[in-house]
């Protein structure tokens, strides 16, 4: 018995000692410092066709930065599947990169952890001022009553990609502008093993992006004005049902898409299995799969009726990547300089061209390089009819809970079982109850 007690006491003492020291976590270097001015670590998200492609795009630019400032940037491209986990562990331990990419929808969630350097007026001044950035992109950088947690780096918007040849064969002369038209066109196109539209049914984030737009088109929001989850209001239920019905009722999405989560719908589109695709800035991706820009057209995402605009006429979320500085950096000065470099006009042009995204920096956006018809649609959408996902601290839980609920709804639809308004509502109710209590 005595030895049991001794072992227990030992373990507890040791753990408490470690726990006490663990409390240091992030606070000890809370404000950042300039201890190691010569190096930076940069976590880039996977934007190109593969990690190798990203390295090829980014490395020359980092070398340029080193030449200009003498600061060496160590690059790590983190796959999307790992990125949020890596940021979480970095936050918990206080050991992370100096500068990192975040999906812009995570801004408010990560802002709440306090791990990211706030971009107050003073910090913005160091990179040329807040006014350099487009408003819609700034709308997705954190809660509106706080200083932004990150600055916009690449902007993207959803558009409707359609296969010109398949449209011609089906006798469709122009891309649909309303959902009714899209469904009608989709029915004409869905035959002989080909389908009207592609979707990523098992990818919670994709589901959220679409559900959000549908909800806005029905005048509904997922969160109340004071930030409470409100997933079961009629507008949201109708919206989610309309999205899932594209497979369940309208049958213009192949049931197999219910298990897609790794961009299979994009390669299906490239192979001509789907005639339409709702995607953000797919050009580079489609090109790398051998689909020429002449083979497909690009149009705004449909609305319920009328033309895209604000309010109920929203037809895209503000998609994009933000650049953040980790508060625990040992090189705040270098990190800020690096952000300034990455958001400079010259770099914005190079990087956004490589990734076929739109620069969130006004002056760079005006460059003729971004005036192609495809980019015109994306630019127009971003400027006029895109809205930011809810900038609330629980955003990442919302993506998981609702995105997974829609995934299960797609699974139900794919199995041939009916998806009624009640089915949708109870799935959303369950998702809502999983949200942190307020």
């Amino acid at each position: 018995m005595r030895s049991i007690r001794a072992a227990a006491v030992g373990a507890v003492t040791m753990s408490l000692a470690l726990a006490a020291s663990a409390c240091g976590g992030g606070s000890s270097t809370g404000g950042g410092s300039d201890d190691s001015p010569k190096t930076l670590t940069y976590w880039a998200s996977n934007q190109g066709a593969s990690i190798a492609v990203d390295k090829k795009v980014l490395q020359p630019e980092l070398d340029k930065f080193e030449k200009q400032t003498g600061v060496k940037v160590k690059l790590e491209v983190v796959p999307w599947s790992d990125l949020l986990n890596r940021i979480l562990t970095a936050t918990t331990s206080g050991q992370g990169p100096d500068v990192l990419n975040i999906g812009n929808t995570w801004s408010a969630s990560l802002q709440a952890t306090g791990a990211l350097l706030p971009w107050n007026a003073e910090n913005f001044a160091k990179i040329g001022g807040k006014d350099r950035f487009v408003d819609s992109a700034l709308g997705s950088t954190g809660a509106s009553d706080k200083d932004p947690a990150a600055v916009p780096l690449y902007s993207m918007a959803y558009a409707l990609y359609y296969n010109k040849k398949m449209f011609a064969e089906a006798g469709i002369s122009k891309p649909p502008t309303t959902w009714d038209e899209l469904v009608a066109d989709g029915r004409k196109l869905s035959k002989d093993g080909k389908w009207g539209l592609g979707a990523e049914g098992s990818n919670p984030s994709e589901n959220i992006h679409h559900a959000f737009v549908f909800a806005r088109q029905h005048g509904a929001e997922f969160f109340t004005a004071d930030g409470k989850a409100d997933f079961t209001n009629d507008g949201v239920v109708t919206a989610v049902k309309q999205y899932v019905d594209l497979m369940a009722k309208d049958k213009i999405i192949a049931p197999g898409n219910a298990e897609y989560a790794q961009n299979q719908s994009v390669s299906d589109f490239a192979k001509g299995k789907n005639a339409m695709l709702l995607w953000q800035s797919a050009a580079a991706n489609l090109k790398s799969q051998g689909l020429s820009e002449d083979d497909y057209g690009i149009a705004p995402v449909p609305v319920q009726s009328g033309t895209p605009g604000t309010g109920d006429q929203i037809n895209s979320m503000v998609a994009g990547i933000n650049l953040a500085v980790f508060k625990n950096t040992h090189n705040t000065d270098g990190a800020t300089k690096f952000v300034k470099f990455m958001t400079s006009d010259a770099e914005q042009k190079i990087l956004n061209t490589a990734y076929t995204s739109i620069p969130p920096v006004k002056t760079a956006q005006e460059d003729p390089a971004f005036n192609s018809p495809a980019n015109a649609v994306l630019k127009d959408t971003l400027a006029k009819s895109a809205a930011a996902l809810p900038q609330v601290a629980d955003e990442s839980q919302f993506e998981t809970a609702v995105g997974t609920a829609i995934k299960e709804l797609f699974a139900t639809a794919a199995a041939g079982r009916p998806v009624s308004a009640d089915t949708v509502k109870s799935a959303l109710q369950k998702a809502q109850q999983q949200m942190p209590a307020k």
Partner: protein, 287 residues
Amino acid sequence: MSSQHASPMAPPRSFLWSRRIFLTLLTGFVLLPVYVMVSSSLKPLADVTGKFRWLPSGLTLRPYVDIWSTVPLARYFVNSLIVAGVATVASVVIAVFSAYAVSRYDFRGKRVFTVTVLSTQMFPGILFLLPLFLIYVNIGNATGIALFGSRGGLILTYLTFSLPFSIWMLIGYFDSVPRDLDEAALVDGCGPLGALFRVVVPAAVPGIVAVAVYAFMTAWGEVLFASVMTNDTTRTLAVGLQGYSTLNDVYWNQIMAASLVVSVPVVAGFLLLQRYLVAGLTAGAVK
């Protein structure tokens, strides 16, 4: 004596027939995924993205060339080899010491030790993932020894994962090595460690090999801790293989080729050593 004690009578036909049917079905079940892995790794991409085909439309070795450039597979391979190799050696040595102490000595706390070590088999990994990660970070901050994100941290973790089962098996094995042997060695002037290494260890080779194989497989296949505790340069195969699902397409043929490449060393080693494994288990675990 590991004799095959077939019963003296010839088996009846019902036995032979049922055996034939059962073993045939089982072989099919076991080999099906192996066949898929091998055949798909030789298929062009169109064959694995379209309807499944039993036979490739054309054989290609392309996937085996491409796997090395799509993700830095060679680096992951080296990482896994180092991590699993060092963890295995260390785990075996430490387990030998512990098992010898428990098998040959009586001391206060022996029971607590064995029960505690064995009960760690029950711990859900998820319970101590985050705390362990915090401990490594804090050790790093306090001493400058980088455990988090390094191969060292992963080695310590994996070697501990395989310890309980290894110690338990070796205790059983050492118990079966007659004590007279170490007594004789002690009479010859060996110290206790001399007796361990000159007498007990050589007599327990099958058990030790079995433990080593187990430790290596544990380290080679672990996913959860590897995904949190490694970075770009220290990533192991278990996590690295996810890189084949790129933004473009799911390269199933490359995934299968890479899976095959990373499986070959373990499977080959395992099959070469399986005789020891059965012998080791016979004496150690199921005695």
